[in-house]
C-alpha cells in the first residue's frame, strides 16, 4: 500500500534559518534522508525522490538563491550552505540520517561531513564537485561558462535529447527560476572554479560510511576525478552507473534508487 503522502508528492514548506528563508520539500516515511540538489535546482517531483520517499522520510531543501529560497547579500559560497544545513539538521532534530548530495549538493554534503558527522549515519555523493586534484594548468571540471548551452547539455546527459528541457514551453515563472538558479550557481562556483582548495585536505576526517556514485557518461566529472575524490575519504566506495551522465538519479532512476537502498541497508 503506497503511503498517501507519497502519492501526493513531497510537501512544500518554508523555514527561516537566521537571515535566510529557504523552501523545503518533505515527504515519505522511514529513516531520514536529506537530499541536497545540484546546480540545475530541485526537481521535487522527480521519480527518484518519489521512489526514495517509499523507504525514507525525504527532506529536500532548496539552496539559498535557488528556487524561491532567499539569498542574503553576504551569502555567496558553498561553505555558507554547509553551515546553513548543519543548522537545519539541528533544528529538525535529525540524527542518523543518510546525507545524499548531487553535484554541487555533493560538494555541500562533503563540506558538512568534514565539519561534523554527529547527525549523519552515512554519506552518498553523486557526481560531486568541490575539490581540485589535477595540475595547475588544466581545469578539473570543464568550464561550463565558456560553452554554449547545447555543449553543456551534451556533457551532462548520456541522452541529451531525451532529458533537456524545452524552454519555449516553460512558463514565465519557471524561466525566472531557471535564470535565478544559473545566476546563483555562477556566484558560488566562479572562483576558485568549482572547488574549495582546502576541501581535499579535510576529507580524511570523514568517519561515516561513504558511497560515491557516478554516471559512466558524465562529461563534467571524469572517472579519474571521482576515483581521486573517493580515495581521499576513508573506506569510500565508487559505483559507476552505465547509461547515465552527470545526473544518474534522473537518467537511471531505478538503478540509482536500488544503490541507495542497498547502501542504507533499507
Amino acid at each position: 500500500m503506497i503511503d498517501a503522502s507519497v502519492r501526493a508528492g513531497l510537501q512544500r514548506q518554508t523555514m527561516q534559518l537566521g537571515e535566510t528563508e529557504i523552501e523545503l520539500f518533505q515527504g515519505g516515511t522511514g529513516p531520514a534522508l536529506l537530499f541536497l540538489h545540484g546546480g540545475a535546482g530541485l526537481q521535487q517531483d522527480a521519480p527518484f525522490l518519489e521512489a526514495l520517499a517509499r523507504r525514507f522520510t525525504v527532506i529536500a531543501p532548496v539552496h539559498p538563491g535557488f528556487g524561491a529560497s532567499s539569498l542574503p547579500f553576504w551569502l555567496d559560497a558553498i561553505d555558507d550552505f554547509a553551515h546553513l544545513y548543519l543548522e537545519l539538521m539541528h533544528r529538525l532534530g535529525l540524527t542518523g540520517i543518510t546525507l545524499l548530495g548531487h553535484s554541487i549538493g555533493g560538494w555541500v554534503a562533503a563540506e558538512i561531513a568534514t565539519k561534523s558527522t554527529s547527525a549523519i549515519a552515512r554519506l552518498v555523493l553523486v557526481a560531486p564537485v568541490g575539490i581540485k586534484v589535477g595540475p595547475v594548468d588544466k581545469l578539473d571540471i570543464p568550464d561550463i561558462y565558456a560553452m554554449s548551452d547545447d555543449q553543456v547539455e551534451r556533457l551532462l546527459y548520456a541522452e541529451p535529447d531525451k532529458w533537456r528541457r524545452d524552454r519555449t514551453k516553460m512558463t514565465d515563472a519557471d524561466l525566472l527560476v531557471l535564470a535565478r538558479n544559473r545566476q546563483t550557481l555562477a556566484l558560488i562556483t566562479w572562483e576558485p572554479y568549482m572547488h574549495n582548495p582546502k576541501l581535499k585536505h579535510r576529507l580524511h576526517a570523514i568517519d561515516v560510511p561513504t558511497l560515491m556514485i557516478r554516471g559512466a557518461q558524465d562529461g563534467l566529472v571524469s572517472g579519474e576525478y571521482a576515483a581521486a575524490y573517493a580515495k581521499l575519504i576513508q573506506g569510500a566506495t565508487l559505483t559507476t552507473i552505465d547509461g547515465a551522465g552527470h545526473a544518474p538519479q534522473i537518467e537511471q532512476a531505478e538503478r540509482f534508487v536500488e544503490e541507495i537502498k542497498r547502501f542504507a541497508g533499507a
Binding site: 547579500f73 555567496d76 535564470a179 555562477a186 556566484l187 566562479w190
Partner: protein, 382 residues
C-alpha cells in the same frame, strides 16, 4: 558642446570571421603581428594629436583579450597621451572597476596620470561590457555593487589628506590607504560613469557625476537621461540638470565620400551574456526567445536611422545631430567613435578636421554650455 575624439584602437588584420566562433576572449594572439600593432599605435596617437590641434578633446578606453581593441590598459595609454599633448582634456571611459581587484591601485593610477597631464584628466568608471567578465575572471554576479563600492573607495582615497584610513567593505579590503601622489585637480578630477540603463543613470545623477550613454539611439537614450535627471533631483541637487553632465557616444563620420563601415562583433552568448550580468527578467525573456545569434552589424543608413551614427557631409551630419539632440532633450558632450578599425589614417584625419572645422562651430553656437537638459523638441522632417 564638447566633442571628444575616441578610437577603439582596433587591430583589423584578422582572418575570415567564418573561421572563428568568437572575435573576443578566445581568438589566439598569433593573429597579432607586433610590428603592425606598434605601427597602429603610432597612427592612433597621431590622430589624437590631430584632434587636439583641431580643438577637440580626447577619449580612450580599454578592452581585454580582443583584437577589437588592443589597448588592455587605459592608464598606460593615458600616460602616453598626457606627455604628447598639452591642452586637450583626456577622458578615460573607463576604468572597469567591477573587474579590477584593487580600487586603491586605480586611485593611484588616476592620480598619477593627472600629475603627468598637469591636471587634464577626466576619470571615467565603467562596469565593463559582459565579454570582459571572462578575461578578468570576474564574478558576473554583483558587478554593480562592486563597481559602486570601488568608486566610493577611489574617491575617498583621492580626497583624504590626513594620513591612512581603512576600508573593510563587502568586496574590498585595505587597511592603510594613503595614496601618493594626490591628483593634480582638487578636490579630484571630473568623474564620469557610463550607463545605458535608466536605473544606472539614476545612481550617477544622484552623485552628480557626468553620465555617458553609448549607442542607445533614438529609442533608448531619452529614458537614460530622464533617469539621470530623476536621480539628480531626488538627491536634492535642484530641478535643473546642466547640459554638461550628459554625454552621448555615437559613430560619426564627416566627409563627402562613403568609406565607413561598422565592424563585426561576433561573440557567442556564453561570453556576451554570462549569468548574473543582466537582470533575471532580461535573462528569462532571453531564454524564451532563444537568444543565440549575435546581431549583424547595421548598414550606415540603418545606423543613422537608429541614431547610433551621424554620417555624411557636414550639413547632413549637423541635421542628423540636431534631430537627435532635440529628441533626447540635449546633452553637453559628443563622444565620437571616429575610428573603428577600417578607416585609413588619412580618412580618419580628414574626418576629424571636417568635424572640427565645419560642424563643431555650429554646434557651439546652437547649443551653449549653460543650457539646461531635458528640453524636448521634435523636429519636423526637412
Amino acid at each position: 558642446m564638447k566633442i571628444w575624439h575616441f578610437s577603439e584602437t582596433a587591430y583589423p588584420y584578422l582572418p575570415d570571421p567564418a573561421s572563428y566562433e568568437s572575435v573576443r576572449v578566445d581568438l589566439p594572439n598569433k593573429f597579432f603581428d607586433p610590428e603592425k600593432g606598434a605601427a597602429l599605435f603610432d597612427r592612433f596617437i597621431k590622430e589624437w594629436q590631430v584632434a587636439e590641434e583641431e580643438g577637440l578633446q580626447i577619449m580612450l578606453n580599454e578592452h581585454h583579450q580582443t583584437p577589437t581593441c588592443v589597448d588592455p590598459a587605459g592608464p598606460l595609454l593615458l600616460a602616453a597621451l598626457a606627455r604628447v599633448t598639452s591642452k586637450a582634456r583626456l577622458l578615460i571611459l573607463g576604468n572597469p572597476v567591477a573587474n579590477r581587484r584593487d580600487p586603491v591601485r586605480v586611485a593611484e593610477e588616476m592620480a598619477f596620470a593627472d600629475i603627468l597631464a598637469h591636471g587634464r584628466i577626466d576619470v571615467g568608471f565603467v562596469r565593463g561590457v559582459p565579454y570582459e567578465i571572462s578575461p578578468a575572471n570576474s564574478n558576473p554576479v554583483y558587478t554593480n555593487e562592486r563597481q559602486w563600492e570601488a568608486i566610493d573607495l577611489i574617491v575617498k582615497a583621492w580626497t583624504n589628506h590626513e594620513g591612512p584610513f581603512s576600508h573593510e567593505g563587502r568586496f574590498f579590503h585595505a587597511r592603510r590607504v594613503n595614496i601618493w601622489p594626490r591628483p593634480y585637480q582638487q578636490p579630484h578630477p571630473p568623474i564620469w560613469v557610463s550607463s545605458t540603463s535608466a536605473e544606472g543613470a539614476r545612481r550617477i545623477g544622484a552623485r552628480g557625476y557626468n553620465q555617458a550613454t553609448f549607442l542607445t539611439g533614438y529609442n533608448n537614450t531619452k529614458p537614460v537621461f530622464e533617469g539621470y535627471r530623476r536621480g539628480w533631483r531626488e538627491a536634492g541637487r535642484g530641478n535643473d540638470v546642466p547640459i554638461h553632465r550628459l554625454a552621448y557616444a555615437a559613430f560619426v563620420y564627416c566627409a563627402d565620400n562613403e568609406v565607413w563601415h561598422i565592424g563585426i562583433n561576433k561573440i557567442p552568448t556564453h561570453f556576451a551574456n554570462p549569468p548574473g550580468y543582466n537582470t533575471l527578467e532580461a535573462n528569462a525573456k532571453g531564454m524564451r526567445i532563444g537568444l543565440g545569434r549575435y546581431p549583424k552589424a547595421p548598414t550606415v543608413d540603418a545606423a543613422v536611422e537608429q541614431g547610433i551614427m551621424f554620417a555624411g557631409t557636414p550639413e547632413q551630419v549637423l541635421r542628423q545631430f540636431e534631430k537627435f539632440y532635440d529628441h533626447v532633450g540635449g546633452f553637453g558632450h559628443l563622444l565620437v567613435a571616429g575610428q573603428s578599425g577600417f578607416l585609413s589614417h588619412d580618412d580618419t584625419v580628414h574626418g576629424i578636421r571636417t568635424l572640427s572645422r565645419e560642424v563643431l562651430p555650429q554646434l557651439g553656437e546652437r547649443y551653449p554650455d549653460t543650457a539646461i537638459s531635458g528640453q524636448f523638441r521634435e523636429m519636423t522632417p526637412a
